[in-house]
């Protein structure tokens, strides 16, 4: 089967969405929607309208018009139901759903084309909130490795099991997946000790370690009575980066900084990689984003889900890179997201909701505003947490809020969200923390149904999301 396709056409996109859902192998032939001079030559005799998408069947028959193609492909599957009314509902949806670029007789206008994002390559990584039994966590990383996920990033916060130990066990059982904390933190943890842990993990994994670090989850720092508000934290990050870079590259350090001081410190822990990537984890910005662009190998932003929030971050990373004369396109721009995926869209959102509630106190005001949310409107949720009323905090975290502050829903919703929010903002790395029934129960005591466990969600992402972003 051949799909005459244009990468920027929304109508082609619908067809590309359905084909992998049905597991139908096909070949893609690219046509330009701007330069149409070769259309007659290529599509003549196949589609009298000379338009994409055009589906060419194995027996040579051809079909044009995206809705007709969808109907043909979906016939006999759950996408075209047997019940007459449900079938009519599908037609109703096809006729009325919003944003149908290219519908009607004329090709899409240039303006529409420009606003339609081009799908680029996207790395998918597995983010762990490591609360499950350790053997299950390791098994999940092994699966993510087999499924071709780029990295396994463990949240290094006191709340969870120690991600360094989980990564160590996983290192002995995996082949390609990269292993890193995301994020680890440099106020409660000493950067040279972090560097020696990273180097040890790099040896154990034969060169697959990296490190994403920040000052730490601010809600957690508050629990330690650490004063992170007093300023100087950008300077601290800069120093910590220098310290870790030096220890990793040279195995020793002499340094006299404002935050860190060493005399003749050395280590036998040496990495395998010539350059172990050090990335900065950030949320609020803009200075932390610019710092990452200036000195680090990338920036992972936590808890940003809107195009506005991510665009703001990537713009400032680029600014920092330009200022330092560096090529921003070489940097790893990662979006760390509370995520939940299920064929049952609402169930996925109900699962994410619990964790979204818990992360609200960790979000700076500016970050909340970049999602079109008034931070003051979230105060009752914070108050509920402060009073220890978890149930109320979760109840106050509406599904609408959950949708804004997580990547949750059906595979189709994921694809749409990535296409419309993540890619246009310049991010090329999605780091998903699947929220499953185990996490929901552990964090809240609540039960959710119809949501796969960690491994089930990794499979859904692999089967139904990753194929759209090859």
């Amino acid at each position: 089967m051949i799909l005459w396709n244009s990468q920027v056409s929304g109508n082609c996109y619908k067809v590309r969405l359905l084909l992998p859902q049905l597991g139908i192998p096909y070949e893609r032939r690219e046509l330009s929607v701007v330069d149409r001079s070769n259309r007659a030559e290529l599509l003549g005799g196949k589609n009298p309208a000379l338009r994409v998408p055009t589906l060419e069947l194995d027996d040579g028959r051809c079909l044009g018009e995206s809705d007709a193609i969808l109907w043909y492909l979906g016939d006999g599957s759950r996408y075209v139901p047997e019940d007459a009314f449900e079938r009519a509902q599908v037609l109703q949806w096809l006729a009325t759903r919003p944003s149908r670029p290219g519908s009607g007789a004329s090709p899409p206008s240039p303006a529409t084309l420009r606003s339609t994002p081009e799908e680029g390559p996207m790395k998918f990584s597995y983010a762990l909130l490591p609360d499950h039994p350790v053997t299950e966590l390791v098994d999940s990383i092994v699966l993510a490795d087999e499924l071709g996920f780029y990295g396994a990033y463990g949240a290094d916060e006191t709340y969870h099991k120690d991600q360094w130990l989980v990564a160590a066990v996983a290192a002995t059982r995996t082949k390609n997946i990269r292993l890193s904390p995301c994020v680890t933190h440099v106020i409660l943890k000493e950067p040279t000790i972090l560097a020696h842990s990273i180097a040890t993990l790099d040896e154990l994994s034969n060169g697959r370690a990296e490190c994403v670090f920040s000052i730490g989850n601010i809600a957690m720092l508050d629990q330690y009575h650490v004063d992170w508000k007093s300023g100087g934290q950008i300077k601290r990050l800069r120093e910590a980066h220098h310290v870790m870079r030096t220890m990793l590259d040279e195995g020793k350090i002499d340094f006299e900084g404002d935050f860190y001081r060493y005399t003749g410190l050395f280590t036998s822990a040496r990495p395998v990689q010539e350059h172990v990537p050090l990335k900065i984890g950030a949320m609020r910005g803009p200075k932390s984003f610019e710092l990452a662009g200036e000195i680090a190998d990338g920036m992972h932003q936590a808890l940003a889900y809107s195009k506005e929030a991510m665009q703001f971050a990537s713009d400032h990373v680029k600014l920092g890179a330009e200022r330092a004369g560096r090529d921003a396109s070489q940097l790893d721009l990662g979006a760390w997201m509370v995520a939940s995926i299920s064929e049952d869209s609402e169930a996925a959102k109900q699962a994410a909701r619990v964790v979204v509630a818990f992360y609200i106190p960790a979000m700076p005001r500016e970050q909340i505003e970049r999602h079109g949310i008034d931070p003051d409107s979230l105060q009752p949720i914070m108050d509920a947490f402060n009073l220890g009323d978890v149930e109320k905090a979760i109840e106050l975290t509406t599904l609408e809020l959950t949708e804004k502050l997580s990547l949750s829903g059906s595979p189709e919703e994921w694809v749409e969200r990535i296409r419309t929010e993540v890619i246009p903002s310049g991010f090329d790395h999605l780091i998903c923390a699947p929220i499953d029934p185990y996490l929901v129960a552990a964090w809240s005591g609540l039960e959710v149904e119809n949501v796969p466990d960690q491994q089930g969600q990794l499979r859904l992402i692999h089967d139904h999301v990753m194929p759209h972003f090859p």
Binding site: D162, A168, D222, S268
Partner: protein
């Protein structure tokens, strides 16, 4: 008497894992590791080794609360406890003074005893309940909690101490034991045990239930002279981290050791090794044939010490530290010798 192996994790990790497997098979009580920036990360190493062992216990020996946050030590411990099915313990102190010095920390101004006492409370609470709210002089927490929970009902917390006597007394008073590093004389261990008893009695505890450990450098081989020569190359390094009072408990005048420490400080390794006389090396190590090792351990045992923690000095370690070649069995060979010819002499 329990016998444990303590490693300096400087070997290739796969070699270290093989050593741990060997110690497990030979019936050692525990494998410990120093937790210092100078070496590889023992937590990462132990996690990777955990599922390749059956009975041996694991733990840092020791981990420094001067550089690591106590609740974060607990998080790692609890995770390791889960990985090993309940086989961890933790020896901690403020940290190796030489290491702290490289971090610009002056331990004498850090109120080490009060700090250790508080850290013990924090770790005991966090391990036992998974949560802590606390307002101390050194540590403060509000509503901190963790999902990292140990399998064991009571993960042993043991205080590491060298100089004493107050640190020994505090260990007897509050912790599950005391591991004392780098002493080899009867006098030094008698001093340790006497003070542990004072602390235990103060708290109404039975001192004989405590884990009283001797952390010792050992070089064991069929050739007595070569084993002693091996130990001697390493003793110089340890002298610099021994408090004066501890040296005196070995009948050594600290002033006589000053030139060795000074030479090491200047990086004059050969001079330092030369200045470390065979007599001093003999006093500050367990070295020689298995029979000679047994005799020395008997002396230590007579004071009430019930746990030998042996830091095996093998050709690879000597090479790493000094560049010199020695001809004693490698680490696994020595572990075997100890298991077969030293351990059987003790109950």
């Amino acid at each position: 008497m329990k016998f444990s192996y303590v490693m300096l994790p400087d070997y290739p990790l796969q070699d270290s894992i093989e050593m741990i497997k060997t110690a497990d098979e030979l019936g050692f009580h525990a494998v410990y590791s120093v937790d210092e920036t100078w070496h590889k990360d023992m937590w990462v190493l132990f996690a990777a080794a955990a599922d390749k062992t059956k009975r041996i216990r694991f733990g840092p020996n020791l981990t420094p609360i001067g550089l690591r946050e106590p609740t974060l030590i607990c998080q790692a411990l609890a995770t390791l406890d889960e990985l090993t099915g309940g086989r961890t313990e933790c020896v901690f102190s403020i940290g190796n003074f030489g290491l702290l010095h490289q971090y610009g920390m002056d331990w004498s101004k850090m109120k080490p005893l009060s700090r250790v006492r508080e850290a013990h409370h924090v770790m005991r609470t966090f391990l036992d309940t998974g949560a802590i709210t606390y307002e101390g002089d050194f540590y403060r927490y509000s509503g901190l909690f963790t999902f990292a929970r140990p399998v064991q009902e009571h993960v042993p917390l043991i205080i590491g101490a060298m100089r004493g006597p107050k640190s020994f007394q505090v260990a007897g008073e509050i912790s599950d034991g005391c591991h004392h590093a780098l002493s080899y004389s009867k006098e030094a261990y008698q001093f340790l045990v006497d003070n542990l008893k004072i602390g235990a009695e103060r708290a109404g505890r039975d001192w004989t239930t405590l884990d009283i450990g001797a952390w010792c450098v050992i070089a064991c081989g069929p050739d007595s002279a070569e084993a002693k020569r091996t130990a001697r190359t390493m003793v110089a390094f340890y002298i610099s981290s021994m408090p004066h009072e501890q040296l005196e408990r070995h009948g050594i005048d600290p002033a006589d050791m000053a030139p060795i420490v000074e030479a090491l400080g200047k990086g004059e390794l050969d001079t330092a090794l030369e200045l470390t006389s065979p007599e001093v090396a003999e006093k500050l190590s367990i070295a020689g044939t298995p029979e000679e090792c047994v005799a020395k351990i008997r002396d230590i045992e007579s004071t009430g010490v019930n746990h030998m923690i042996l830091c095996v000095t093998d050709p690879a370690i000597v090479k790493t530290f000094t560049g010199r070649d020695v001809s004693v069995p490698d680490c696994r060979g020595q572990l075997r010798l100890i298991a077969e010819q030293v351990m059987p002499g003790f109950d």
